[in-house]
Amino acid sequence: MSSTATKDHPQLAAIFNRDEPRVDWHDETLWWVRAKRDIAAHKLPEWELLRETASQIKNNVLSNLSTYLEQFEANAINNGIIVHWAANAEEHNKIIYALLEKRGISRMVKSKSMLTEECHLNEYLLKQGIDVIDSDLGERIVQLAGEPPSHIVLPCIHKKKEEIGDIFHEHLGSAKGESDPKILTETARQHLREVFLTRRAALTGVNFAIAETGEFVICTNEGNADMGAHLAEIHIASMGIEKIIPERKHLGVFLRLLTRSATGQPITTYSSHFSKPQDGKEIHIVIVDNGRSIQLGREDFRNSLKCIRCGACMNTCPVYRKSGGHSYHTAVAGPIGSILAPNLDMEKYADLPFASTLCGSCSNVCPVKIDIHDQLYKWRQVIVKAGYTPKAKTLAMKGMAFTLSSPIIYRAAGKMGRFMFKYAPFAVNNGANPWYKHREMPKAPEQSFGEWYAKRKESKK
């Protein structure tokens, strides 16, 4: 896992592409999820109005976020929920550890939370001697495999069932060579049921936090968030500040968009609304900033905070489909990850906004209308100005700008280029030219259009 930290997206993507049949499998699987989303969306003639409405609600949230956060906190406390605030990942992890340590708890069950991936919570708790088991099936699989999830909704979409079978055989005692998803899921059900029944602490994420009522909503198909939370003594819920929505009735918009965008289902099996703790039990919420307030202050990029983590942008992105989530070397990958991550560490994630052709498909499947591809373009300008692109590229671009601002130099360069192509093709048709690896260079015509036009003008005189 640490070996990916030193490689960037182009390198990781090239490694991923060494196995072409596997790339095809990954690409087709994710395209199928995009296709299911299309079918679900087309069943609702009001789909585009839903997107626009959700987008406007989230715009309102971002413009009043401090008020809504205070309102949410007050209402949650009123309901008997204990609220904590964490400025960054480290503080988030420490707060959670303290809650467990105070109660003498050394084992916790977790349901899916990308925020905890971002904060590297599992690794931190492990170092403190806390055993954390991920209960979402996909998350449990990657946990046993010692990998991070590759997709925010489909954590092990990059794994084949035979590989999962091997992992379960090694760690959960399933039969060698067993790869039937039904049998593997049953194995996980039995294993995790025992975990749910024996853990005193459960940690979940938050899909939506309602300012108006202080309740929060968690959406799952498996029921693992509820199994963990209802059986534990303490339920801890981690949320980013941007998970707020103003009023309960707005769920009538977001719950219609979220799962259709994510998997093509009309809704998840469970949409659980937590308001008060059970008698004798506790609910704690940890509200996390970790760079979000900074992103809020970036006028060009604040809209990325509207994200409801549906993953539709990943499913549609041809680059994600053909390079895999791990190529982005960050917790949240794909198009949305590429506009969120540079805010956290511009140097480390300088490659991500360039891992795109700016095709715009992402922006048009986004249920909250984030202008993802426009933000990718804008991040490129910021990253270049900050000096995080290779010097050779900057030199080449300056050369290009110089050539293209002068008609005479441009025409001369064009003529020379075509001459080279014609008489010294080996100068470009070689291994040093990345284009040439899988493509022939374009053929050089006898004359440019400009030259043809000038001749035509002459002959007309």
Partner: protein, 245 residues
Amino acid sequence: MKVALFVPCYVDQFYPQAAIATLELLEKLGCEVHYPKNQTCCGQPMANSGYEHLTGGCNNLFIDNFTGYDYIVCPSGSCTLHIKEHLHSHENEDKALEIRKRVFELTEFLVDILQVKSLEASFPYKVGMHQSCHGLRGLRISQMTELVAEPFSKPAQLLSMVKGLELVPLSRADDCCGFGGTFCVVEEAVSSKMGKDRVDDHIEHGAQYITSADLSCLMHLEGILRRQNSDVKVIHVAEILNHSI
């Protein structure tokens, strides 16, 4: 109406026949077409790579060349989109604004401005239509599959006027070809895989030609086709619309 022809730099140097076809087609349809001879490039290769701040010289040159026309027509969706969204100038912002209002990609010019209803063209071949992303999602010259909205296509509308032409269906109507400017070399592995998959889709459906409103996409797909020694050829829509036996 005074129409200026804006020829993308790589079309000028490598695919002049597409620009020639555009010029001839516009003249056939009754336009008085000027070719400002000192034009070079719209600046997109630098801007998309994060170097928009270096495009001032390019922008001013563009404004010098293209001020004073009723319409500026370009056989490239991506170059047209770039000018529409990014042509600015400290010294000449009002001229830049005028140009941004008047620049059109070829098929949108033919359908929306000239309102072409018939063409004297024939091209009796099976053709696959590649939807270039900038033309599709940027200029909206066709409806994109992501939206729940009425389908339409300006290029397909024009191609339907060409005798004998058969548009082949595709498995993925608007998946990106993978060119993406400097992406094609910076992310070479993914870029060529994306192009290969597009080419396979067209070949599987029997296309003899792949066409598009954008030669940057076609240049990339052609590179892959020729590496595969394929008989399938690329051709710009202008060349088809201008084609007669």
